[in-house]
Symmetry: C2
Subunit: 478 residues, 2 copies
Amino acid sequence: MKLDNCLTAENINQKLLNIQYAVRGPILQRALQIEREIQKGVPKPFERVVRANIGDSHALGQKPITFIRQVLALAAFPELADSADVPADVRQRVQEILGDCTKGSVGAYSPSAGLSIVRTRVAQYIEARDGVPASPDDVYLGSGASDVIKAVLTMLVEDVDGKPPAVMVPIPQYPLFSGTLSELGLHQANYYLDEEHEWALQASELERCWRQASEDCTVRALVVINPGNPTGQVLTRQNMEEIVRFAYEHNVFLMADEVYQENIVSKPFYSFKKVMHEMGAPYAGMPLGSFVTCSKGWAAECGLRAGFAELARLAPAVRAAFSTARAVMQCPSVLGQCILDCVMKRPAPGEPSHPQFAAELGDIQRVLAERTETAYDTFNSIPGYFCNPIDGSMFAYPRVDIPEAAQAEAERLGMAPDEFYCLRLLEETGVCVVPGTGFGQLPGTFHFRTTILHPRDEFQHMMDSIRSFHLNFLEKYS
Amino acid sequence: MKLDNCLTAENINQKLLNIQYAVRGPILQRALQIEREIQKGVPKPFERVVRANIGDSHALGQKPITFIRQVLALAAFPELADSADVPADVRQRVQEILGDCTKGSVGAYSPSAGLSIVRTRVAQYIEARDGVPASPDDVYLGSGASDVIKAVLTMLVEDVDGKPPAVMVPIPQYPLFSGTLSELGLHQANYYLDEEHEWALQASELERCWRQASEDCTVRALVVINPGNPTGQVLTRQNMEEIVRFAYEHNVFLMADEVYQENIVSKPFYSFKKVMHEMGAPYAGMPLGSFVTCSKGWAAECGLRAGFAELARLAPAVRAAFSTARAVMQCPSVLGQCILDCVMKRPAPGEPSHPQFAAELGDIQRVLAERTETAYDTFNSIPGYFCNPIDGSMFAYPRVDIPEAAQAEAERLGMAPDEFYCLRLLEETGVCVVPGTGFGQLPGTFHFRTTILHPRDEFQHMMDSIRSFHLNFLEKYS
């Protein structure tokens, strides 16, 4: 008793002890340590760490969109307009946004759901994307998509029909979901994406998952990540219709993580909102949560924490409870909201900022197209590797055959085989990727997730490093 | 079954239904409605709504600090340095911060706890304030203080010794606490501040509260708000020592909401960190959470969501669990972190930005000194009003005698007497304040909280409106 035991591992919220977030997990911690060792002159078999653990485009060298940054700068310090050299449409945009800020300051609180002008632009963006009506009243801005996703999941924490709540998530998944479900004490019901069929989402597998989870739990929601993270697949429209029908039949809330919708190489993107609408009654009347963030897409402003949820067709009492819970945290960053405004209404042809914007956007899209192709080709050319086509996102998630001797070695070290593999990759080449255990995978299969948006030379260096590491690894453990 | 009943008031998280946040509650909603009515030409006995519900200085006309906004603008768009007219120390500061951002972009994720440079500056600020060592490793940046306070409260959600957890909060309190405790399902154990003795915090009342709560709960933490919100008092050092001893004796985690530490008129501010340290063993070794935000203080950048927690002397396993939970949400806004950097290390005498900064700071401090005095004098001159001296914060919390006939009228309308009073005040004068029920008050006493940072004329108009409203109200109900 007494002193520093008022908070201990034994008496704090035990759910927190279960949270895992591999994207910033032990492999990254070791990578940061290696970076410090290199700075101190500790010799390594490589010159530098290549971080490929997180979808952080600016950190990989992607240049910020000039229009966005000019708007941010002027919104923060409007007096700059006198001296700074910025285009007229930037000034115009800033005037519009500040006109909706109390006393014209981004330092005043906004409404909890976000500035009215920004929520209106979000609704207009959705309408233009889907050809389906959208209401600013259904739009809730947040500090990134993670923030609003967590807020929505919090609504599901309640026993129903005497059984604890469960949420269906894809495997592999993005660990925001597993981590947040752990924190909230929501049961995670896993459905497996079909790696043999380009990570398709099979309705039969949804049914299996639901039946199994329903033995002990009430399934409250179905999370779908489209485009996939870490898998990079884009769902077909037919597949999406099956998913909608499933959600309807089982009365589960559909949560569509659609944050990579602007990071697609060639396939069309259909939102669940649009698909539901076009399926007509009764599906067009189902509640839906869709999540978007400025951390992804072409803006990729991860550090500035801006995103939104469209929560369509919520019951009024549910909407009211959600709004009050959000109000306690005041509002998301107003400068973050400015970015979202720019992303929702990009410079149009004919406007002064358009030529530069179009050029910058083109560069970003070209990099994505090149890297997805290189990653696909490279990984499939390495013996023991398999990688599905990458339709979009910022990642590759190759499957790797790990020799039995290496699996045994991992076991001796108390690690999962893919963790051992990724740690060895890091120690021998400096390449920092995230083991598949952080996302989930079929038992007996092994993967890692790598970001793919590095500059061409660095990316080639990473691909070459992985290849030669793997060949050595095979030799050592075969 | 089916359609839009997968989320209903009956089956969502019932804890969310209990959340109240009066600062943005029904009175504000009515005020917003009245603003729309005025725009539509509906006649009112006043020209405009005066919002005094929330501590939002910029919304009341306080000008942003130029140095902060210049740093923000350049950090967002460093290319501006070529054309914009900004002082050398702004350029220098931006260079330092961007030097700690990956690839020099505020659009890259920072570490979850915040940029190293900013956490270091926070630690230096604390050391300079307290004369006590502080470590950047104990500093966790967040999206405002609310964000980190909620994260810390989340750690307390666990039954201990077979009893549910309780948190002691002052009455009156800031409803972030009551709202978040409701959401998390933590029992709120109320201790009353002593209005008859300038809102002093009596150790005997802490004991009473603890004993009563301990009958059914395990008390896990003690929240102290100093300077007080809504009360504006600053605790004496002797009082703080009693509080520390209490927390030690009962092994509760001390959570010090110290967000108004830079908004004090004349008294000295002692942090709990300093007081504990100077009390020596065993108190100097106690864990402590202290919370600060850029939304308050002289920066008052509410809209930009930046704050921090110093969590001192946490057990390593607790620290690890907290860090992992934070990592799932990635990081707080990097532009918010830039503001915190400026607040922690303000322009120093001799630096180019100092003269303007000093002038702006002086204006802000003068307004606070004037308004606290005017509010105190005015409220105490209204019959039936009583107001303690206001040492700091941004609020007054006068007590109002409400005639019995008015209380009866409120009851007929299904409202608390102070809610009825504030609603009538709003309808008759346009002045929007928050009823005491939103913060808590001794049963049978009635208060409201008003912000006091309006421009002089508007503030005088508000004081005059309240006075004449009250005299009419007395006449009507006496």
